[in-house]
Structure formats: C-alpha cells, structure tokens
C-alpha cells in the first residue's frame, strides 16, 4: 500500500488568524475594557508590549442544552472501604464529585494573549483616535531608499545603462556577433580584391556576417537591467520625553490617570519614531524632583504649587544629560492649572528663554474632573499665562481635558508640527 508522508511544517502559518480576528471583533468591547484596565496597571514603557488579558466569558458564551441537578448516578474507580449501603457525607464539593469537562463552563473568565499590535490597536481605539492618526501612530515608520542590486523588471527611468550594455556585450561576444570592424575589413578586402572567384567567396562571407549581425541584436530585451531600490528604515535618533506633573493635593486619581494616558500616547508616538526613548519624570509641588514612574504616579506628596520649580529642574537635567544637539526633546506637562501668582513671571521666562528653544514639542495638558465642564470655569492661572505666551508666538500645544477621548486633539498639533519641521529639515 503506498503511504504518503507529507511535510506540512512549511505551510503558511496563521491559519486561525481569520477566526481570531473575528473573535476579537466580536469581543471588541470586552477586550477593549480589558486592555484599558491592563494599560492602567502598566508602566508607560510597557504599554507597547502585548500581553495576557482576561475577559468575562459571559459575553462569548456558546450556549448548549445542558442538564443539571436531579439525582445522579456514577461509577468510580478506586474503592477502598465502602460496602453496599454505606452513606457518604456530602462535604460541599465532595471528593467524589464527578467534574466532567463541561466545555469550560466552570470558568467565569477567559484568559488569552494579545499580540503587541493587537494590544496597541485596541489601546489606541479606546482613546477614540481618528483612523488616520491611528495609522500614523501605529504604523508610520520613516523610511529611506537605498540601492539594492539589479532586477530584470522596472520602470524605464531606472534602466541601468552600463549594466545593460555590459551584458549585451558579453552576449554578443559569446554568440560571436561580427563586429563593425570585421565587416568593414571584409568590405575593404572585397573592394581591393581583383580575383572574381575570391571576391564571390568574400561576398558570400560578407552576406553571412551581415545575416548573423541581424540575427543577433546589438541589445536584446534580455540584456536590460534595472536598478533596484529598497526601502530601509531611516537611521533613527534618540529622544527624551519629559513628563512634568503637578502632584499637589488638588490632583485627583482621575486627573492623574488622564495624564498617564497622555504620557503613554506620547511615548507610543515617540517610540515609533526614535529607536531609543528615555523618559524623565519630574513631579513638583512647590519643589520639583526627578522620580521613578511609581513614585510619579502613586507616591504621596503635598505642598503648594510652583510650576517654575519643575521647569528649572528640567532645564538643569537637559543641561547635564541631554544635549539638544544629540537628543530630540519632548516635554509634556500635566496640571490642574493652579500656580501661585507670584510664580507666573518666572515660569514664563523659563519657558520662553530656556525650555522652548530646546524642545521639539511642548504640550500642556490641563486636566479636570470627569464630567466637569472645564470650559465653564474661568481660566486657571497657568492657562492664562500659557495662552498669553502662545499668543505672542511661543510654540505650545495646550488643551483642557476631562475625558479620555479628549486627549487626542493635543496630538493634532504635534502631527502638524512634525510635518512642517520635517520639511524644514529636509534640505
């Protein structure tokens, strides 16, 4: 009997991808909730990792007619001491419970792993980014073009003349195509020839050579080679991202969460553009200090509010560690807008003179309570100050935010700035 042995290992994988996508689409709201929850617990730098999420099984349950309850009979192996007529105590879930594999009904939560792309996609979706921007954040990679050998097909503008001619020559030599000189030589020999018979022989030879020349073209389509180009990721620079936040008592958990999301988004955005992204966390009350991420978001602090202290700290860190010629500097500041009046002058000065000149982008995010309509209140002291600076031409992005979905518009400016600055740096 013939036996077929087939190696399937090289078959394209991902046969279940389509089904998986359908599943994710169907469970979208559930998975999105899970992603939101997971991303809240994560550090900013980990937001790009995929990971395990847990969703309630309920929404994805596939019902069947099942029976339960009633009297049950079961035969079990391993009797040690029972005899007929004995009674066993029911001890809650008795040891003799028959735990049939009931199609995973016993689990009320469903855990599975999301890939990195799926995770970021859902994370961005949750922020209600417009599709275009999402594509930019998630997928744009600056690419350069470089030569990569030759190909047999391409556009006429890419024909490589030297390569084509070289190949043509090689072919002509290989096939012994008569050269122009040879023919000329023969022609002059014929002209000089007196003997009729020999002339006829030479003429026939000439005829043959000419026919051969015709048969073997000077340049054959086979010879043509095109220059091939391939896109390569552009050499990427490094960037540093400064997260400045007011941590005085007036900042609630919700506000901090908004700020965190904003930082995450900025990080995702930067991570796509720069190979290496450093994050510096500076928190301030009336004093500023550089802290780690945990302390930044969750560490307790109290005191008044002096924004200038944070800017001063940032300025010093930049001077010490991040030379603007080597680093792209991004800064994002989150605050509820309080600042002591006496500090306004100093803050404005620091910002315009020291900070903004070295920054690619400075965003100010004024966070408010959920549902609180930030626009009804009179502008905060910091907002008033920054608005004044912006009106006098300082490159600031600023936004008031009280819901997650409002975070994105801040980035609108960022994208626009990117495009113009790229144009500027192009030559």
């Amino acid at each position: 009997m013939p036996i077929h042995i087939i190696d399937r290992r090289l078959n394209p994988g991902g046969k279940s991808l389509e089904n998986r996508q359908r599943f994710l689409r169907r469970a979208k709201s559930l998975v999105q909730g899970a992603v939101k929850k997971t991303s809240q617990e994560r550090d900013i730098k980990d937001v790009l990792e995929g990971g395990e999420v847990t969703i309630p099984l309920d929404g994805m349950h596939e019902p069947r007619f099942r029976r339960d309850g009633g009297t049950r009979d079961m035969v079990l192996p391993g009797n040690k001491k029972f005899i007929e007529g004995d009674y066993l105590q029911r001890s809650g879930q008795g040891s003799a419970k028959d735990s049939g594999p009931g199609e995973g009904d016993s689990e009320d939560a469903f855990r599975f792993v999301l890939s990195r792309d799926e995770f970021v996609d859902l994370f961005l979706d949750d922020l209600e980014l417009p599709d275009l921007a999402k594509r930019k954040i998630a997928h744009t990679e600056s690419e350069g073009i470089q030569r990569a050998g030759y190909t047999t097909s391409g556009s006429p503008s890419n024909i490589s003349v030297s390569r084509t001619v070289r190949r043509a020559m090689a072919r002509r030599i290989a096939l012994k195509r008569p050269s122009k000189e040879e023919i000329e030589e023969l022609e002059s020999a014929i002209a000089a020839c007196a003997d009729e018979d020999e002339r006829l022989v030479l003429l026939a030879q000439l005829e043959k050579l000419k026919a051969k020349t015709k048969r073997i073209p000077f340049i054959d389509p086979l010879d043509i080679r095109y220059r091939r180009f391939e896109t390569v990721p552009k050499p990427v620079a490094q960037a540093v991202m400064f997260c400045l936040m007011d941590v005085s008592g007036s900042m609630s958990e919700h506000m901090k969460d908004l700020a965190k999301r904003f930082y995450m988004l900025l990080y995702v955005f930067l991570k796509r553009r720069y190979k290496h992204v450093d994050i510096v966390f500076i928190r301030h009350t009336d004093r500023a200090e550089e802290v780690d991420e945990q302390t930044f978001f969750y560490g307790p602090a109290s005191g008044g509010t002096l924004v200038s202290s944070a800017l001063q700290a940032m300025h010093e860190i930049v001077r010490e560690r991040f030379s603007p010629s080597d680093w792209n500097i991004y800064a994002a500041q989150a605050s509820d807008g309080d600042n002591s009046y006496s500090d306004g002058e100093l803050t404005g000065m620091l910002l315009t003179d020291k900070i903004l000149p070295v920054c690619q982008f400075f965003a100010y995010l004024e966070v408010g309570e959920s549902g609180g309509s930030a626009f009804d209140l009179s502008d905060s002291s910091l907002w008033t100050l920054y608005e004044r600076l912006r009106n006098s031409g300082a490159p600031l992005s600023m936004r008031k935010v009280s819901e997650r979905s409002e975070i994105f518009p801040v980035f609108h400016d960022l994208f626009q700035r990117r495009e113009t600055s790229q144009e500027k740096s192009a030559p």
Partner: protein, 511 residues
C-alpha cells in the same frame, strides 16, 4: 537479528517511511487489520493548535468560536498548562494522521502505530462509522462547506451568516439523527446537490412572478392533529433537520447552512459514542505493534523503555479520591478491557467461562477483538465485556446521589458478587450518549394559529435543563423559527415541570 528502524531520538522522512512499513507489516500480518490508505503529515505546534481550534479538521469554515478556542488553547499552551496531543487523526480516506515535529523517533513510531493503524482500522470497520460517516467524501465536503459559507458572506453579509451559524451551533448537539433508516450520507452528492439547486434557481428566475397577484388564500385546512404531525414528520428529535425542512421564513442559503452544521454534527456523532472503544483499540494496537517490533529487535531496549513510559502515562487511571481524577480515562478503561478480553480468550478462569461463554478459551484473540471493534459502541461494549475481574481490579463502585436524601450519597453497589451486574449496567449507561444528552423533541406546531413551535424535554431522574443556557438556546431557535417557541419539560408521568416560552428577536435588534 533484524536491522534497527532507528537509533536514538532523531528521525527523518526515510525513518518515518521505514517505521510505517514496519508497523504495517505487523498490523496486517499479525493483527489482521484492515485500514484505509494512510497519509502521514508532519506539523508544527502552531499548526497543531490550529487543528485543535477547528475540531481537528484540516479545513473548516470561518467562525469566531474557532478563534475563541484557538486563543484559549494558545494561552494555556504558552503558559505550560496544557501539553499538546502527539497526534491527531482524521476519519477520512485516505486516513490523515498529523504528527508533531517535536516527537522523538520512538514517539513517532508510537503515534503511527496508534493513529495510522489503530484508529484507522476502527474508523474503517466499526458499524457506527460505516453507518454514519462518509470517509471518502468528508474532506471534499468540508471544502465545499468552507467555500459555501464564504460565498454566503459575500452575498448576504457576514453578520447575517454569523447569526445563522451561531444559532445552528447552539443546536448542534440536537441536530443528529440517532436512528438509522435513512439512506447513508453521500457527501459528494451533497455538494453537487447544493450546486445544482442554486443553478436551477438562477435558471428559472423570472421577475414577473413577483407581479402576479396573490390568489385568494386557501381555505383553512381542517386536517386532524395526527395527520398534521405526520406530514411534518413529528415528533422530531433532530431540531436542525426540522428547521431546515419546516421553518417558514428561512432563506434557502440559511437552510443550506443548517444542513452543513447538521452534517458535520452527524459526522462527529460516532466519535462521541466510541471514545473508550476507539482509544482502547488504538492503544491496544500500538502496544501490540511496539512490543512486536521490540521482540524483532527493530527497536532498541532504551527506546522501548521510552515507549513504555509514555504508554503508562497514557493509560494511567487515577482513583476517585485522587487530585488528578476527572472521570474514567477512556484510554485506560479501553486498553484494560481489550487486554482483559485477550486474557479471557487465551487464559480463561472458571468465572470467565461462566460470564463469557462465547469467547472464553476461543484462543483467536484477534478474531474476537476485530469482531468486537466492528460491532459495538461504548455502551454496548461495556455492558457486554466488562468482566468481574476487571471491576475488582479497578475497584469500581456505584454511587447514587439523590438530593432529597438527607443521609448523604448512597453506595449502591460495589465490586462484589451482588454488585457486578449493577455496576456494569450503570457504567455502560454513563457512556450512552442517548442517555447523557437531554432528550428534546419537536412535538407540534400550531400551523393554523400563531405558528408556535412546541418542544418537549423528557426529564430523566429529575435532571432539568440549565436555565440560562436553555433560554439562550431557545432564543436562537426562536430566531430561526421566527415565531414563538415553547419548551415544556415533562417527567416520565407527563407531569409538566417547567415551561419556557421565547419570542424571536426582531431582525434589527439582533444585528
């Protein structure tokens, strides 16, 4: 001494070929097995996970629930909670066995013997598989189903198709013919039939029919209830069949989808009834083949020990009070029974002569076993061949748990002279699908009135349907039926225990 098939753990495709040839020699000459042509495919772990999520089939239509299962298996596999099967075998002709690439040479030998000969023989010879499945046509049919579903999605939209499939899946366990009598399924013909039907529709399509004024509605027929039920083929336990044929407002493609799901459910029906026998057969066959190969010197002692270790893991039966216990292990029970039959046939004791006069001492082990493999399913197999000796060996006992009983769970019978037959009957019943699945039938339709569909659930031993699930399934059923559906749970004395009534959701609300 015969040459070794392989040394160490490494293998290549020539090794596989040699192994298969050697197994085949033992299988056909010594064991007298009769198998479909074999096709062996080597796959990776990821492909194995793929296969898991589409119920082991190499191709299947697309549906989110398979994605769910894939995600679930993948997560638990990655965490190391779950090992993957060494092999998957498909009841088709040629019989396809998937082998994992990670397996060692010994493991490949084991799984080839197990799947390509053990399962294969069982698929080809067992009466249930002969009766209900069409091994030649299944792969083509699945291909047809996949394309058909895809076409439907193109024509009618994914949401619509998904809704119909969701509903059909919910009813899948009740989309099976349990009793033969109809003609055997010919899946190739099925495929052609669907194509022809569509072609016919296209040929005879004439938009003018739409404009023909409807005639006066026919006078209400006054046929008797009996006649009506007869016309509709009631009572009907195959709910999907009933819907396909009689649901008033389904589109033809929806009926075809129900039919596909029904056929696939039917294809798997024998497998659920023969877990113990199927695995028992395959395990017994691989054990015989491996032992023989070792005796012939074609497998080294070291490799044979490796085999024995896997084998004993597979046939391990934890006791009921063990942490690892989760019911009877079909491999263990099946293998133990096959070996026990071998013992009865060759070395019977008085007790065996009394219990199994037909086979005790017959000496033709393979003859008896082949006959058993061909003509029984789990329930009848256990009822017939579970011997007192094996019951004693596994120390089986029967518990009766009546929630009304205050004293606790009663030990009804144990492995003694008084209990053998009762334990055996009860264990056989545990393996009877007809007894495990809820017995639900379409009883009647009020055709002249509000078209309510009436189902009965015949409650056995007070075990009623799980309420949340029942409501959801009925919702699906009502959506397909498009009128009210009532499910009445009745006990053996026709006393009504509970009544569900579900109305169909309006189409827009579902979408």
């Amino acid at each position: 001494m015969t040459e070794r098939l392989f040394e160490g753990a490494d293998w290549d495709f020539h090794t596989l070929q040699r192994i298969t040839d050697a197994c085949e020699e033992v299988a056909t000459k010594d064991l007298g097995l009769d198998v479909y042509p074999n096709q062996i495919e080597v796959i990776t772990a990821e492909q194995m996970l793929d296969a898991y999520s589409s119920v082991g089939m190499p191709l299947f239509y697309k549906h989110w629930s398979f994605g769910k299962h894939f995600a679930y298996h993948e997560a638990s596999y990655r965490k190391g909670l779950m090992g993957l099967a060494y092999e998957i075998v498909i009841n088709s002709s040629p019989c396809i066995s998937y082998l994992m690439e990670e397996n060692t040479a010994t493991m490949q030998t084991l799984v080839i013997a197990h799947a390509a000969f053990g399962h294969n023989h069982f698929f080809k010879n067992n009466y249930l598989f002969k009766q209900w499945t069409d091994a030649d046509g299944i792969l083509d049919y699945l291909d047809f189903a996949k394309n058909y579903v895809m076409q439907c999605e193109d024509r009618y939209g994914r949401v619509e198709v998904e809704r119909t499939l969701d509903a059909a899946h919910a009813l899948m366990s009740h989309g099976i013919d349990r009793y033969p009598g109809k003609k055997k399924l010919d899946l190739r013909a099925e495929e052609k039939r669907a194509g022809r039907r569509r072609q016919h529709e296209e040929e005879v399509f004439n938009d003018l029919w739409r404009t023909v004024p409807a005639g006066k509605s026919k006078t209400r027929s006054t046929i008797s209830i009996e006649r009506r039920r007869k016309l509709l083929g009631l009572p009907q336990e195959n709910l999907l069949y009933f819907l396909e044929k009689s649901a008033p407002r389904l589109a033809p493609w929806q009926r075809e989808l129900l039919r596909i799901v029904r056929h696939i459910a039917q294809y798997f029906y024998p497998q659920s009834q023969t877990k113990v026998m199927n695995e028992g057969t395959a395990t017994y066959v691989h054990y015989r083949i491996m032992t023989k190969l070792h005796q012939q010197g074609r497998i080294s002692d070291g490799n044979f020990l490796e085999f024995l270790q896997s084998h004993t893991n597979v046939v391990f039966q934890p006791e009921f009070d063990d942490q690892r216990f989760s019911g009877f292990n079909p491999y263990a029970l099946g293998f133990a029974m096959m070996q026990d039959i071998e013992r009865i046939v060759t070395r019977p004791e008085d007790e065996d002569r009394e219990w199994f006069p037909d086979i005790a001492g017959k000496n033709d082990v393979m003859g008896v076993l082949r006959d058993v493999w061909a003509n029984y399913r789990d329930e009848s197999f256990i009822a017939q061949f579970l011997s007192p000796k094996l019951m004693r060996h596994l120390r089986m006992f029967h518990l009766h748990d009546d929630p009304e009983e205050r004293a606790g769970i009663r030990v009804d019978a144990i492995h003694d002279e008084r209990g053998f037959r009762r334990v055996r009957r009860e264990l056989a019943r545990q393996h009877d699908v007809g007894y495990i699945d809820a017995n639900i039938e379409v009883i009647d339709v009020d055709l002249s009135g509000d078209r309510r569909l009436i189902l009965h659930h015949h409650v056995i031993k007070g075990s009623q349907l799980n309420e949340t699930d029942a409501k959801r399934v009925l919702q699906h059923l009502a959506d397909l039926w498009t009128y009210d559906v009532a499910l009445i749970e009745v006990d053996a004395n026709d006393k009504v225990l509970r009544e569900y009534v579900v109305s169909p959701r309006p189409i827009s609300a579902v979408a």
